[in-house]
Symmetry: D2
Subunit: 425 residues, 4 copies
């Protein structure tokens, strides 16, 4: 248990988890299905995640499926103590809270590893690391990993033939790109921008640096709120896509000279540097939507400024001699720093995906090679089906003849008549 | 030369090619670059394509690059005789027109094969077939194939270890999906719908069956013209994407009962059948945007109807007893049957892609295994760069430090502070 | 009857009218209602309109309501002879076709005037002119006028206290602005552009001169088809609206220097002149969507060009020395010259509006002052209700308490708590 | 001065006003112009507004123009004390803060009236009321009124021939409808919805009751954030517009049965009542965007519920037996209760409009009749011009010949050739 002057209230935690469950209709469906079949009976699931209400909902779903669950925080500093207290009340769930220090964190991980989990839900491959170094990975049928960094680490392990169980890379699926990056980031970055500045998007000019899934989402939502959009992108194929999607595309310095707002979402360093600061218009607003706070060269900005001051929470103004520039959230990722991170519907899908993947591994994990696998299409399809059901949306299935037709070698039944040049697509 | 009472005018053909070249700024750039470096010097290129003005522009670009070009129609019935006449005037270009019969077509292909091309631009693997059966594929450094059917055939050959040169599958690249299917088909299908019916899209309800690249483009443009959109899709991931893109998603019979217009773009057979016809509203309009005319079960429609009559060109009304249903273009692909097929900008990019791929094969083909290869990213990037340049769009490049950062193992420089659960993306 | 070698076929005309009626569900509803109540019994309606299938549908609707109808073409050169022949078969309808000369036209108008219509549906005030000059306006209860020019003429007459019956200005209602100008023109102008050029709108830059209802519709649809939009507008309020609607706004010369396509829709003269031609990019396409062909100074363009030639139907290229400019339809209104004018749904609403107005005048005309009146809100509401019904859309009505609340002096029941500055709107 | 334990800091207030001024580029331009010409020299302006930083910026602009300004809060409970303290430091500005009681408020108003303002900027006609009842309206050249309620009151006074000075109704101009209602409310209502619920708009279904300027803005932005939209509207013309704008339109009960979110923006009472609550889906979210909290019948909701509880700030859940319904902000106007009200750009334009109107009245007020006047087009045009300038947007002016052409009787120079039926628009 977390310690402190005031004991965290498990009642508050139960309320928070209940509200999260209300907002997570897809996870609720997965939970129901797991419970119906006791599909996780006799499994012990080691879960290493941020301890939040949504994680609480996930952990409860696993326990309802018959599993014993050991939860260890992926970051001991971000534990929601009330949620931890509430989960401690639940049958089959143990929360392993160490002291909030590196040593305490390692001990908590070791405790979970020692219990011999059969399934692992991991974040940054932390639990995998301890399982492998402690030699306690034998019982593991399979694991999921939800971060890019964790996947890189596990792949490296697999290349050395040292990975001792199969892992599903749940961070990299079509659904995750759509929900997490495009839809979730798109909405929440604009939310963070509006909360901090109260800017009217209509009539403003927003430049987005980077046209990956995040940048696409941001540009799409900026446009949806009435802004004129500019995209800056170094990859020519993505740049062309941005242009064909209706955005203006230009070099970063040109964009800096025109934009009212500049948002970085590239994954690279120093995307906005001294040259850009010199080009910006008076009053331009800068925000970062990339994971790390390295995209805006804040040191160079501070150096260029004769003065800086915080004018509202998370809003800092830099005086550049005649012009002033506004930096939001110190260049940290704006949707987390200044808004509520992912919308509820995104968390729902991501965590439901974890639960579906865990159940799939319980059934199929023992047949898989010990490396990092992409999420099978069938899992994504299953998850999508549940998400549609949660929205009350029904769809058709292929008929038998259609299925035969689509898998036959020569799909031509009646051919179109002589077409113009471009007929054969 | 094509024969006939009135000799085709090469002047008209030259004009048509010149206009096509005006509309093809990307191909013009490729042509300029090929000419500068004589990058196709000493190459003999066998080209099997529909003989149109755009093909004329492509063939001229190849010849300007120093190649000897042998053009054979991929379909002897669709030859634009004036273009063929004009190309016959050009140095280094030979047009091999057989009689417009199967036998004549084979002879023309054989003639091209006999000349021993070093590069092949193919359509449906017809030239490849003849080269392989005639044993004249030795000189071929590499080829491109632009159709799905052709790729299937060549892959099958490669699996039997019988493919004698490497092939680039130019029909399946990100740019091609974007331009050809989403943008080109999207615009031209709506164009065909409007031309045949003069329907006001605003306030109408359009159901699109299939949410692949074509269906996406059609739904996007129907929405852009003011329609309310419904998507029917059997793949749950695509269905979910359609829903998150803002379309209504429902089973086909429900859609049929609500839509003013139904457009099929699935690739499957009998997508609209007797059940759907029974559900349709009075006056509903049916069109097919899939490649083959098998998606609407026109036989079942005819059977269900007590009467049918053509009320405008390409517009046929079926009397279903109290309700009447309108079928466009007899269920053939609407953008080709009732509009001008691909917009000029799409043809430009596709043919420029063929020329870039041919030049790349001239340089690298001999190093490749004899199988079907995806188009290397570098070619797509090069093509995108030319397309941006043609639009007057400039972009940045990564700096050295950015490149190092992005390729380093551990991209963390300064890490974000404790984030909520959803931080690690 | 029109004369000629081959007698026009009334069967073809009946088919054309039947098809028009299929496409005009709102007019069908009005017709049904007129017929039910014989609401035009004992009326004689003089109708001066272009003789087309849609006009045929309107005239039949009036006759079904019990009226005797005298139709005279508003332009003797644009008569669809088959439609005229078909209408001649109908009970209660007389088509007055003079010889297609000014004298013949006047005689036909005079014949209609002589018959003493009680209601007038007019186009350009032509019938009104003859009724007034012939002194045969006594029987007229009221009329409608559908053109701006006609309204100006009738207002001028009313100011001289010479107008002898009340007129409803049906060309100027919220619904007409929406349907006719924004929706109808928006779609059909883009249709004309695509038909003539086969241009891919996505990735192109379209400049629209004028941001009235037409310009708005054009910019909206260009954007909906994927183009980036620029608006040029001299009225600052409209220019600001365009900017807040997400379009780029700039002076015309700047727009000319950037646009791939320039479309005029201002109502003014010489909107594009020598300065703009000098600024245009190579290959730029010019089209006019304004009613008269005065917006593009084609004389100045011809003078600036060293050469000009027609490269496709309605597409003319001007050589400006190193650059060439493309003019569509000779600067005439593009949606009529190169497409099918108004979409069917627009014609439906406009002609249904004429019929509703005529019926309303039959009932209320005698109580109105002899001047030009705006269309009463009740007629527009009635028409909107029918249009919704035709689309299968139902709406609610205000409850009694809501009606009382909205008309009471002090609408405050429970007041909001202390709001920020902007609370009282 | 406001009283209290801790004296409000005028430094904080100066900072707040300075930040507001940064965000109000249009007002800054107006201020500069007023200062240049000392256009308010010898004027005494009575200002009755909420005392906020934005009001501070307005008042300072007036003083810079040479006026003596007397500011009285329109609501004594909503005074930002630091702003009041800062304004007290400024030359030519007096803040009249009474005790925060009805009596104190009346005394403060009376004090301002007693000073004999020559110009009045009013909010709810409060200052006008006191001026008229105290007989101190003689010196007033003119006033502005920014609320609908105030305009009703002043019109009523004018009808009794008792209004003693001309008033401009600044609440009712095209720009105000655009900025305040459509753009400002549109963005901020969605902002309030996201802040309270963290809902992912993409894939959700939002029903908007009312399609006035506010409802339009809300529906537009909901759509722009990826939601599917339903509009419920009792006015058939507006309902038809909503349909043609691409929204689904249906009766309220049908909408309630489908929507994930229902937002009222009608101005009427009991828009959502017991019937709707019975129809809502489990988990549906209700919010009001109308000015008064009468649109959702919260009493009926409470009565229908077996239980209710606050689950997050401003989020209350009602248990309806098997279903639960979420009410935001107790049915109070969501963008003020749960977000920051108008975006800064909206406040800028509204307050700049007040300043421009005041300056115009200083010059022209004495020539106006003593009634409520619409804002002259010239003021709106002027304001739009300043707003464009603030965004760096330039526009053209009509040429002399264009101006002549547009004002001439018969605008036909060269007429279009025989058009189809629909030519004369």
């Amino acid at each position: 248990m977390a310690r402190g002057a005031s004991r965290p209230s498990s009642a508050v935690g139960h309320d928070a988890i209940a509200w999260a469950e209300r907002q997570m209709p897809v996870l609720r469906r997965v939970a129901g299905r797991l419970a119906d079949g006791e599909r996780l009976a006799q499994q012990r699931v080691g879960v290493c995640l941020h301890v939040t209400a949504e994680t609480g909902a996930l952990v409860r779903a696993l326990a309802r499926g018959g599993a014993d669950v050991d939860l260890v925080p992926s970051n001991p500093l971000s534990v929601h103590a009330e949620v931890a207290a509430a989960l401690a009340d639940e049958p089959r769930i143990t929360v392993h809270l160490g002291t909030p220090t590196p040593v305490g964190h390692e001990r908590a991980l070791a405790a979970v590893a020692q219990l011999g989990p059969s399934l692992v839900i991991d974040d940054g491959a932390d639990l995998a690391r301890v399982l492998h170094s402690a030699g306690t990975a034998d019982a593991v049928i399979g694991g999921t990993e939800g971060t890019t960094t964790g996947v890189l680490r596990l792949r490296s392990l697999a290349e050395q033939r040292s990975l001792e169980y199969p892992v599903l890379a749940v961070n990299d699926t079509p659904i995750r790109h759509l929900f997490d990056n495009r839809l979730g980031t798109g909405q929440s970055v604009l939310d963070g921008l509006i909360r901090t500045t109260n800017l009217l998007l209509a009539g403003s000019r927003v430049a987005v640096f980077g046209y990956g899934a995040c940048g696409r989402g941001i540009a799409l939502r900026a446009h949806g709120l009435g802004a004129t959009t500019i995209v800056c992108e170094v990859d020519p194929v993505r740049a062309l896509e941005a242009r064909m999607d209706g955005h203006d595309v230009m070099p970063g310095l040109d964009a800096a000279a025109r934009a009212d707002v500049v948002i970085t979402a590239t994954g690279a360093i120093d995307v906005l540097g001294a040259n850009h600061f010199a080009a910006l218009r008076d009053g331009a607003i800068l925000a970062n939507a990339g994971h790390f706070d390295v995209e805006i060269d804040t040191a160079a900005l501070a150096q260029a400024a004769s003065d800086r001051r915080t004018i509202r929470p998370l809003v800092e103004e830099f005086d550049l001699g005649g012009r002033s520039i506004v930096l939001l959230a110190g260049g940290r990722v704006i949707n987390l720093a200044a808004a509520d991170g992912h919308p509820a519907g995104v968390m729902d899908l991501l965590f439901a995906g974890q639960a579906v993947a865990a159940a799939w591994l319980a059934e199929h994990g023992s047949t898989l090679a010990h490396r990092v696998h992409p999420v099978p299409d069938a899992i994504d399809a299953d998850l999508a089906r549940l998400a549609l059901e949660a929205q009350g949306v029904r769809i058709d299935e292929l008929t038998g003849p259609q299925r035969s037709y689509l898998t036959s070698w020569a799909p031509v039944v009646h051919e179109s008549h002589t077409p113009p040049a471009s007929a054969d697509r």
